[in-house]
């Protein structure tokens, strides 16, 4: 099942989409994503750690550094994903240099061969996305585009027309990380995007609690939860504890 159809199925059933993020290579990460999937995720975003993650805040930076120090590489992560038992659509999130170095066509073929159906590249904006998207489209990989509050309506329209899988609405001006309260910009960008596209619109960046997820989903189709999940993994080192956190988000989004 593609990521888009997985998310659309949840939406069609009247639910809200939950896509947790975890840094690949971080401790018991394969068991953790299995626990996260079992806890009610609609899709999973697995980070392939990069040495210079400019879109990430301190929590994901720390996880990336730790994963790299323990020897994680793009092939080792894809290899583990190909053998993981998750049962939900998989996306990888990484930075463009790792993809460029490997070769766009080879990387998209390797994703497909590993059972990964989508990719998120936060430092590859629309203007530079052509060569990658061509390779990804050809391999059947959905390229999720980020849409930011700073964009004009005209730009948002062009971004969503290139988006596959879902549209990743950047909830605030800033890098990944938890915030005390939901930014006003989160619902605004979600509403602007909902006016432009039928693709699922998920808000990420700054969604750290089930309450914030519920609040933004008054407008959005779902959420991406990254730093809160990774922080739980870093603090507890327990796949079950991370699964419990994701279950709290699931319950809240289901109206419980």
């Amino acid at each position: 099942m593609s990521l888009r159809s997985g998310l659309e199925a949840r939406r069609a059933a009247g639910g809200k989409c939950l896509v947790p993020y975890l840094t690949g290579g971080l401790g018991e990460w394969v068991r953790t994503i299995e626990a996260v999937a079992a806890a009610g995720a609609d899709g999973l975003e697995v980070g392939i750690p990069f040495s210079d993650p400019v879109m990430d805040g301190p929590v994901i930076q720390k996880a990336s550094d730790e994963a790299l120090a323990s020897g994680a590489t793009p092939p080792s992560i894809l290899d583990a994903l190909s053998r993981a038992d998750v049962g939900v659509p998989l996306a990888v999130m990484t930075y463009v240099n790792l993809v460029y170095r490997h070769g766009f066509e080879r990387f998209s073929a390797d994703l497909a061969a590993s059972g990964v159906g989508a990719a998120i590249l936060p430092d590859l904006p629309l203007e530079e996305s052509g060569p990658w998207c061509e390779a990804a489209d050809a391999a059947g990989i959905e390229t999720v585009m980020l849409a930011a509050p700073t964009a004009s309506d005209e730009r948002l329209a062009r971004v969503v027309s290139r988006a596959r899988g879902f549209v990743y609405a950047v909830g605030l001006l800033g890098v990944t990380g938890e915030r005390d309260s939901l930014a006003v910009s989160a619902k605004v960008i979600a509403a602007r995007l909902k006016d432009l596209t039928d693709l699922p619109v998920l808000v990420g960046v700054g969604i750290g609690t089930p309450e914030q997820a519920v609040e933004v989903c008054e407008v959005a189709d779902g959420v991406v939860v990254g730093s809160a999940v990774v922080r739980r993994a870093l603090e507890t080192r327990s796949p079950e504890a991370v699964g419990d956190l994701v279950a709290e988000f699931r319950t809240a989004l289901d109206g419980g």
Partner: protein, 387 residues
């Protein structure tokens, strides 16, 4: 040296690889720069600041004693004599004026050796802007004096504590700051690197030093030009500045000198980081390697995209020198000419000194991009047993 167009490409290099949040800001910046750069009002204001505040034009000095020792004619472009002690002020005054014109109230900058940070803090003080400078924790320790100067000038200096804790990581932190503050802040990037329009805009702000150097060479050499123009290259702004004066003079050999431990052109392969496609020191998977140089200002695993293009087309060549050659050159210029260079341009001197045989009888112009005051404490440790 051409306008790289709206996509910001120098041949295959350059581009705009940044988070989506920043794309509108880059487009706004490009439009503002294009407009300002042809506005006589803006140019007049900048020229006046460069003359009356920064002290331009900087002189050209012929080094007779050094020339005698090396067996070639040596000219120095004296960017060390600018206000704040390096060429960095040219770019910073331009960007700060542009930031004000765009209605921004805060400057964000990265710095390696602290020269760009000091220049940015200076321009911010002059123009009444807030200023935040990110600096690698390692660099803050080895360039303590510049950290204090920036704070004295009213800037906040924040350590970059991730990765190698040097210039590369300071750029990451500055970009993260800008992603969060893009509406009120201007990212005052300090070299000819990063996403378009920076490599081009920063080159244009440094073109003044190349134009001056060409005119000064013609006067000094009675209509002639130097045979070789040499500059150090980290990100590559001082080199682009001086190369821009001579790029069309095809008989002039352009040489960029990289530190052996941070040679993006020499040891790198094309990659994408910090918003640009360019040569990059990286491992087989694309993880960026940590540079290692005695000079904090050149301690960077990447290089500006136009240098990658100049290297690929062969218009400029790129050479490497070791830390110990640099330290010798630092001492050589001090002893023979009474000029203490910064460790960065000491790389250019080191190459000239090492290659004196192939340069015999030629006229060599070196861009002395900064003065060595900031490096004296570090050199006291390195040379403790010898002096």
């Amino acid at each position: 040296m051409d306008d790289p167009g709206e996509r910001g490409r120098f041949g295959e290099f350059g581009g705009q690889y940044v988070p989506e949040t920043l794309m509108p800001a880059l487009q706004e910046l490009e439009a503002a720069f294009r407009e300002a750069w042809v506005d006589p009002g803006f140019r007049g204001e900048l020229d006046a600041l460069l003359a009356d505040y920064a002290g331009r034009p900087s002189p050209m000095t012929e080094c007779h004693r050094l020339g005698e020792e090396l067996g070639c004619r040596v000219l120095l472009k004296r960017e060390d004599l600018n206000h704040t002690g390096s060429h960095k002020i040219n770019n910073v005054l331009g960007q700060a004026l542009l930031a004000k014109r765009m209605g921004k109230t805060r400057l964000v900058a990265e710095t390696g050796a602290g020269q760009h940070g000091v220049a940015t803090a200076t321009a911010a003080a002059l123009m009444g802007l807030d200023c935040m400078v990110y600096m690698g924790e390692v660099d803050m320790a080895r360039q303590e004096l510049n950290v204090f100067r920036m704070r004295l000038l009213g800037a906040d200096v924040v350590p970059a504590v991730s990765g190698s804790r040097t210039l590369k990581d300071a750029v990451n932190e500055a970009m993260r700051d800008w992603v969060a503050t893009v509406e009120s802040s201007h990212y005052c990037l300090g070299s000819v690197m990063g996403p378009h329009p920076y490599p081009w805009m920063v080159r244009e702000f440094h073109r003044v030093l190349g134009d001056e150097a060409r005119a000064q060479s013609e006067r000094l050499l009675e209509g002639g030009l130097p045979d070789v123009v040499v500059a150090c290259v980290g990100g590559g702004s001082n080199a682009i500045g001086i190369f821009s004066g001579f790029a069309e003079d095809h008989a002039v050999d352009l040489v960029g000198v990289e530190p052996a431990g941070g040679a993006a052109v020499g040891h790198g392969v094309p990659g994408i980081v910090h918003g640009m496609q360019s040569y990059l020191m990286q491992d087989e998977f694309g993880q960026v390697l940590e540079a290692e140089s005695v000079s904090a200002g050149l301690d960077y695993p990447g290089v500006g995209p136009e240098h990658s293009h100049l290297a690929q087309t062969g218009r400029a060549r790129y050479e490497q020198v070791t830390d110990s050659e640099v330290i010798d050159a630092f001492r050589l210029l001090s002893r023979t000419e009474g000029i203490i260079p910064a460790l960065e341009p000491a790389h250019a001197l080191a190459w000239v000194s090492r290659e004196r045989r192939q340069l015999a009888g030629l006229t060599v112009l070196i861009n002395l991009s900064g003065r060595g005051d900031k490096d004296v404490a570090q050199m006291m440790d390195i040379l403790a047993d010898e002096l």
